[in-house]
């Protein structure tokens, strides 16, 4: 069984993003970048499926400019067998990303596509569901457990009320939540080995899809700052402030 893992290069999760002074966008110049944490969990899950003898091949794919090859190499170091970069300098809407992935799904015919539930930059939480719609596959989003059972996969999902388990026909799309697994670190020998694993670059334009933007970013502003408050000296003072100053308790 082939597993396809789409991944995204994003700002490192420890870094607080800055907004450009002209409010045209955020400023990512000289910012530390990394694999989106949810995508890292997706790679880990795919690699574990291979180690368990369920997956036969793990293919990592990323859509972006040349810089995302760095994240694809990391995916290879973590255990993916080969990588595909779909090259574009544009920042594409999730729908267009899903359309490109759909083409690759048609070519590769994976039984499972596993990807992060959201990217920590755009916070959209869309790509997996959109890819599922375009390919007609069932979806198991926000997964905290993935279990194969014959020609089905059981996915336990983190939902508002707790956990929900669904059975999906294969092929299927799974999007990862935080507690699906704890990703490993790439070892030095594996990082070296990854340099020799195949990474194919394909221009986005070659897929013959209309990739014109569906949304327009008009401006990006910093959020309203909260004023730092006061440090109270005692619980009595705290209770008094909450009652008489903030008036949020009675």
């Amino acid at each position: 069984m082939k597993v396809l893992v789409p991944i995204k290069r994003v700002i490192d999760y420890n870094v607080k993003v800055r907004v450009k002074p002209d409010h045209s966008n955020v400023d990512l110049a000289n910012t530390k970048m990394a694999i989106n944490p949810f995508c890292e969990i997706a790679i880990e899950e795919a690699v574990r499926l291979k180690e368990a003898g369920i997956a036969t091949e793990v293919i990592a794919i990323s859509i972006g400019d040349k810089s995302c090859q760095e994240q694809l190499r990391t995916a290879l170091a973590l255990g993916a067998d080969r990588a595909i970069q779909i090259e574009t300098d544009e920042s594409l809407d999730a729908l267009n990303i899903a359309k490109l992935l759909q083409k690759v799904v048609e070519e590769e015919q994976p039984q499972l596509v596993i990807l992060g539930k959201q990217s920590i930059d755009s916070d959209n939480n869309q790509t997996g569901q959109m890819l599922a719609a375009l390919t007609g596959m069932p979806q198991g989003t926000f997964a905290s457990e993935v279990k194969f059972d014959g020609d089905k996969v059981n996915v336990t999902r983190e939902v508002d009320g707790g956990l929900q388990t669904l059975a999906l026909n294969l092929p299927a799309i799974v999007t990862t939540d935080l507690r699906l697994n704890e990703p490993r670190y790439a070892s030095l020998p594996n990082i070296m080995k990854a340099k020799r694993k195949p990474l194919v670059v394909r221009p986005a334009a070659d897929f013959g899809i209309d990739l014109s933007p569906r949304t327009k970013l008009l401006k990006v502003t910093p959020p309203a700052e909260r004023k730092a408050g006061v440090i109270v000296e005692s619980i009595d003072e705290l209770v008094d402030k909450l009652k008489n100053e903030a008036k949020v308790i009675s």
């Binding site: 939480n125 939902v159 508002d160 956990l163 569906r214 502003t221």
Partner: protein, 308 residues
């Protein structure tokens, strides 16, 4: 203009967050139709018909919709879409699950998690865990939107909308429900509570979360948690507040033994009043707290409970 709002519910009751999504629909302006898709969900239909400013409630009551399977709901919604310029759902796990599927089937983009409406095609939404706020224009003829409830006021519920029953059944037949493991609690939902008290890694174990119970009882509060507390198995996942958990904005948020990572702040920094209890005076949570107390939580919590 016509707007379709998909009602969030659990078959038994309507989630009050829907009232805020209708509030967002009113900001867009136009005739508002609600869709209740579920199974044995008459209570929800009755509640939906009372929501103010709603013209019509469409009802699809069928086993195919009992568990809100995205494959089935998305087919239903896309089948109805021709009549509407805007389709809205609440940005909770159900809407987040099926709405992008609706958008892709309609070949349009989705605008996720809006917190304000600028015009009928332009919306405001947080990005980068709320560290930047984007104003985005949709270039599609149809707009598929999820609404972050902390951005909008709930509408009142003394209306009387017409109820129309549909007998459409869209069962994709590619997914099925196996089981649920829902947390049962007497406390208010995190999304509906006006007071929330949350514990973090500083609580040390699940047993110690009981220290929050007495305070929550006295304040009528919901109990939340940081990711670290959930990952460590102290409490279940549905209690997680943050960028990738629940987004809340109560009148009062009390963070106990939580350091204040950006991913946690993303879920609670729009609360009206924030209180932080932490033994580390340098903890970043104090930068957003209106009232901070540098103290050992194991001493502070019992004292706070006794003085409320």
């Amino acid at each position: 203009m016509s707007i379709l709002v998909i009602v969030e519910h659990d078959n038994g009751s309507l989630k009050t967050e829907t009232l805020k999504t209708v509030g967002a629909a009113q900001k867009i302006g136009g005739d508002i139709t609600l869709l209740v898709a579920g199974f044995n969900c008459q209570n929800v239909v009755d509640a939906a018909a009372k929501i103010n400013g709603v013209k019509k409630v469409l009802v699809c009551d069928n086993a195919a919709y009992e568990h809100q399977l995205a494959e089935n709901i998305s087919l239903l919604v896309t089948g109805l879409a021709a009549d509407y310029e805007h389709i809205l759902a609440t940005a909770l796990t159900t809407g987040k699950n099926f709405m992008p599927r609706v958008a892709a089937l309609l070949d349009v983009a989705q605008i996720s998690d809006i917190i304000a409406v600028e015009s009928s095609d332009t919306f405001v939404r947080p990005i980068y865990a709320g560290n930047a706020i984007a104003t985005v224009q949709s270039l599609d003829s149809k707009k598929v939107i999820t609404v972050r409830t902390t951005g909008f006021d709930a509408v009142a519920t003394d209306g009387n909308a017409e109820v129309v029953t549909l007998d459409t059944v869209t069962d994709a037949g590619i997914s099925s429900h196996v089981s649920d493991e829902f947390t049962v609690s007497e406390r208010p939902d995190l999304g509906a509570a006006t007071v929330i008290i949350s514990g973090g890694r500083g609580m040390q174990n699940g047993e110690n979360f009981k220290l929050l119970d007495g305070i929550a009882d006295k304040l009528g509060a919901a109990i939340g948690a940081s990711r670290a507390a959930v990952d460590a198995g102290f409490v279940p996942n549905d209690m997680q507040v943050g960028q990738t958990g629940k987004i809340v904005a109560p009148d009062l948020y009390i963070a106990v033994g939580i350091s204040g990572a950006i991913q946690h702040l993303a879920g609670m920094k729009d609360s009206k009043v924030i209180v932080a209890i932490n033994k580390d005076p340098e903890a970043p949570i104090f930068q957003v707290a209106d009232y901070g107390i540098v103290a050992d939580l194991f001493e502070a919590l019992p004292e706070l409970e006794s003085k409320l």
